[in-house]
């Protein structure tokens, strides 16, 4: 069987996106990279906006970063030390079959408490798993967010 290559929902495909959250105290921000399968994201965005976006092809719709920014902002909610912070989306790159999205969140002072709700792709793929790896204050901690438990909390 193949794994991780399919274009649409199937019983035996494995849906995983991996997020890396790192604290850059000097810049007073969290730096976040999101690694998401291009075909999953393309399917979800095309469904949401009801048009083919041809993500990461030569027919890609113009202003694709605006779609991505809106989608990531809608699906990812981050609370830093208890207060919700807006996501600022910087852009994206394509690496093989993966889209890497880059964004930041304001995080002043010492980071003690981080709450992440991440429902990216959950509406399109019920089995989607979003793995959040964090590297904060030299601490590596992780969350596995699924439809069952889309929100997680970490203390540092």
């Amino acid at each position: 069987m193949l794994a991780g290559l399919l274009t649409a929902a199937m019983a035996h495909k494995y849906y995983v996106a991996v997020f890396l959250v790192e604290h850059a105290p000097a810049k007073k921000q969290l730096q976040i990279t999101a690694r998401v399968f291009v075909d999953d994201l393309d399917a979800a965005l095309s469904k949401k906006y009801d048009r083919e976006l041809y993500l990461a092809t030569k027919k890609e719709a113009s202003g694709i970063d605006d779609y991505l920014a809106a989608y990531f902002s809608e699906k990812i909610k981050i609370k830093v030390n208890g207060s919700e912070k807006a996501i600022s989306f910087l852009g994206h790159e394509i690496e093989d079959d993966v889209l890497i999205g880059y964004f930041t969140v304001e995080a002043k002072g010492k980071l003690k408490d981080l709450e992440i709700k991440n429902t990216l792709l959950f509406e399109s793929f019920p089995d989607q798993q979003n793995i959040i790896n964090t590297n904060i204050n030299s601490n590596k901690k992780s969350l596995l967010l699924t439809n069952d438990s889309p929100t997680g909390n970490l203390q540092f």
Partner: protein, 743 residues
């Protein structure tokens, strides 16, 4: 001498007794990561030898099938009757037989959906809501009409989910054979709606179905020396374990269908037109390009027909572990011949018009390239043909035939992703003919044994298909994001198929990358390729276990790989090797302070008090080039001829480099020195450098030119998960994020 020892012992005791509570260290078991694998591997025996080959007592069962199958296209039902002849080659008698009923995973009483976690969604589309909460659901699963013995008497049977036990009136003795018959039918699933590795795809525009039919008959389970009966239920992730056998299958479908299946078609003249048979004959002689046997025009005419007449296609397959077929009115059919080293085989593709021109241009050529390339690394492809069927959303393998996704979109557009995705999936699924269809490992237990080995050869085959082919799996650097992930979400490769997190990375990419690293870094192409080929040839048409693979790779190469299997396959250890420290030294003949009484042992009883060549860690006026030190010069003049002297190195710079290993996975140390003039020298220290100390290692480099930079694994060949500690002087390595921001 004895007196001194006695004195020392007394002193030590005195010191100890002076302390209140003497602290005693605890002992420990062998924790060295080079330890041999006796603790984890099965003990070799007469069935499977310590060399990794089948032993003198090796046996395997055989199951032969005669089947009559009929497709009801209008009602999407499949009817079948089979006679299974089962050969008990085991040394023991069998009281009962286990038969696999894979379709029962879709029955209304199936446990599979009950074993899934559920939750309420925020919003549902009407059809989804209805399916989730209102409808009874698809009525799948085998409807067994009878199970009879050879004389027609009913046999007692018990169905436990996806497994059926047939109770034999008397035990099947070792070396004996039993025949029995089963009749059944089932509703075929629309796999695009409810999933599945087989089923049908419906085309709304013309009302036709494209069937990809597999797991369609009750199939014998494997009985062997390691599992007894492999009757672990089919939950959905762990695929199949099947014995070899011979098949005679007659398949009746509407007369306007075109079909392909496992095995050789024995009545070509009955099912193809005379013109199509002639084109097929041409294809058997066409080695450079495919010949179209059923044209797009013919397929387009057929898909409007909906014939009420029937036709029966007759297939015979020898020594296969399974049988599958694909049938539709919509099929275009092309084929070409493939020259292997000692024989020829046919490469075949079936696809609807919706797949063109992509499939006509590409599929059969990719099939041909795949069986040629895999044959080179294993054995000549032994079957008469390999078929690639265009089935959207699929990627699934059976003997001689597989289903593959990838079509132009509704506007005829083919992205690079689809083009290469389709090419890769064809290579992958055709490649499965070798693993596990012929080298017949147990997928229910170990997904990686076929997926990992197959993904490795898929990578080599892609790279040979086209220069710089965009392979997703294989190169070491591509596994780093997975290997550096949180340990809570990682499991060893040696984990049962149903229990794996991150299936694609764990069972496909990681083993494939591991084999690629063995080939590129640890063993080299020649030793690796020979050992890999030995494994494939030892176990073709047999049932290997993981140990048979691990042992053969060592046995055929004289490379001890226990450390590699232990780290890469049996644990979640990762590679992280760094440079801890670099000390620079200079040469002098001026005795440094503190070295006044320095002497070295000479022979058994003597001491040599110098003079010496001294190594000092600070550059001063007294440090010299090695060649300018008189002591050394005299030695060289006395001991070497002029010609020999010209060959000697003239080192002036000395570096003691200490390597550390924050990661527990062992790996050879790859080092690159970059000199001031920009030239480089590469070194490779075998993994045994870590054998007595798994944490640190040190090496000395004596160079003529000054070193500007020292790097570990500069070409990213070892899946080192943290490269921030890989260079001296320490370089600020930009994070992925910083690199992006800097652009």
């Amino acid at each position: 001498m004895k007196k001194i020892l006695y004195l020392l012992a007394v002193l030590a005791t005195a010191q100890l007794s002076a302390q209140d509570a003497p602290k005693k260290e605890k002992g420990h078991y062998d924790t060295n990561r080079f330890s041999q694998m006796y603790d984890l591997m099965a003990t070799p025996n007469g069935y499977r030898t310590a060399s990794g080959a089948p032993g003198p007592d090796y046996y395997q069962q055989q199951a032969d099938y005669k089947m009559d199958i009929e497709l009801d296209d209008k009602n999407t039902k499949l009817y079948g009757a089979e006679t299974i002849t089962y050969h008990n080659n085991a040394p023991e008698d069998l009281e009962y037989l286990w038969v696999q009923l894979d379709q029962n995973r879709r029955s209304r009483t199936s446990q599979s959906p009950l074993a899934e976690n559920q939750h309420i969604g925020k919003a549902y589309k009407a059809d989804n809501f209805s399916r989730s909460f209102m409808e009874e659901g698809f009525d799948g699963g085998f409807k067994i009409e009878y199970v009879k013995d050879a004389s027609g008497k009913p046999l007692r049977y018990v169905v436990n989910e996806t497994m059926m036990r047939i109770d034999l009136p008397q035990p099947l003795k070792s070396g004996e054979t039993v025949s029995f018959s089963i009749k059944w039918w089932y509703n075929i699933n629309n796999y695009r709606k409810i999933g599945g590795r087989s089923g049908y795809e419906h085309f709304d525009k013309d009302g036709n179905n494209l069937y990809v039919i597999a797991q369609f008959y009750p199939r014998m389970a494997v009985y062997n020396d390691v599992e007894g009966w492999q009757n672990m239920q089919f939950w959905g992730a762990g695929e199949f374990a099947l014995p070899f056998g011979n098949f005679e299958v007659n398949i009746t479908v509407p007369a306007d269908h075109v079909m392909e299946a496992t095995g050789e078609l024995s009545n070509r003249e009955d099912v193809f037109t005379r013109e199509q048979v002639k084109r097929y004959e041409q294809a058997t002689k066409s080695f450079d390009k495919p010949v179209v046997i059923v044209t797009q025009q013919e397929a387009e005419a057929a898909e409007k027909g909906f014939s009420d007449k029937k036709k029966t296609w007759k297939y015979k397959a020898v020594n296969v572990r399974d049988f599958a077929f694909s049938t539709s009115r919509k099929f275009i059919y092309d084929a070409m011949a493939v020259q292997l080293s000692g024989k020829t085989a046919m490469a075949v593709s079936l696809y609807p018009k919706e797949s063109n021109p992509l499939w006509g241009d590409r599929s059969t050529r990719v099939v041909a390239h795949t069986i040629k390339t895999y044959s080179k690394y294993t054995f000549d492809y032994p079957y008469p043909k390999a078929v690639s069927v265009s089935a959207e959303d699929q990627g699934m393998e059976y003997p001689m035939i597989c289903w593959n996704y990838g079509r132009p979109d509704a506007n005829g557009f083919v992205s690079e992703r689809i083009k290469y995705g389709m090419t890769s999936v064809i290579i992958h699924e055709v490649g499965h003919n070798f693993f596990p269809m012929i080298v017949n490992s147990d997928e229910r237990q170990w997904t990686w044994m076929d997926e990992g080995l197959n993904t490795f050869l898929e990578y080599l085959t892609e790279q040979e298909f086209e220069k710089d082919y965009p392979s997703h799996r294989g190169p070491a650097a591509k596994i780093v994001p997975y290997m550096s992930g949180d340990q809570n979400f990682l499991v060893p490769i040696m984990t049962n198929s149903e229990l794996i997190y991150q299936f694609g990375s764990n069972a496909y990419a990681k083993p494939a990358t591991g084999l690629n690293m063995l080939r590129e870094v640890v063993m080299g192409h020649e030793l690796f390729d020979y050992a890999f080929k030995t494994y494939a040839n030892r176990w073709k048409f047999k049932h290997p276990t993981p140990e048979d693979f691990f042992r053969t790779m060592e046995d055929a190469s004289a490379v001890d790989l226990d450390w590699f299997w232990r780290g890469w396959f049996y644990s979640t250890d990762y590679v992280d090797i760094g440079i801890e420290d670099v000390k620079e030294f200079y040469v002098t003949d001026d005795k440094p302070e503190g070295m006044e009484d320095y002497s070295v042992r000479k022979g058994r009883f003597g001491r040599d008090n110098g003079p010496f060549v001294y190594m000092v860690d600070e550059k001063s006026k007294k440090t010299k080039k090695a060649e300018d030190i008189k002591l050394l010069k005299n030695y060289i003049d006395d001991n070497f001829t002029a010609a020999e002297k010209a060959q000697l190195k003239k080192p002036s710079y000395f570096y003691e480099v200490t390597f550390n290993k924050p990661g527990d996975m062992l790996m050879p140390i790859l080092v690159r020195l970059t000199f001031e003039d920009g030239t480089t020298e590469d070194y490779k220290f075998p993994v045994q450098i870590w054998r007595k100390n798994n944490q640190t290692a040190a090496r000395v480099f004596a160079t003529e030119k000054q070193v500007k930079k020292i790097e570990v694994d500069p070409e990213l060949l070892t899946a080192d998960i943290d490269v921030t500690n890989n260079s001296w002087p320490k370089e600020e390595v930009q994070s992925k994020f910083d690199q992006f921001e800097g652009k």
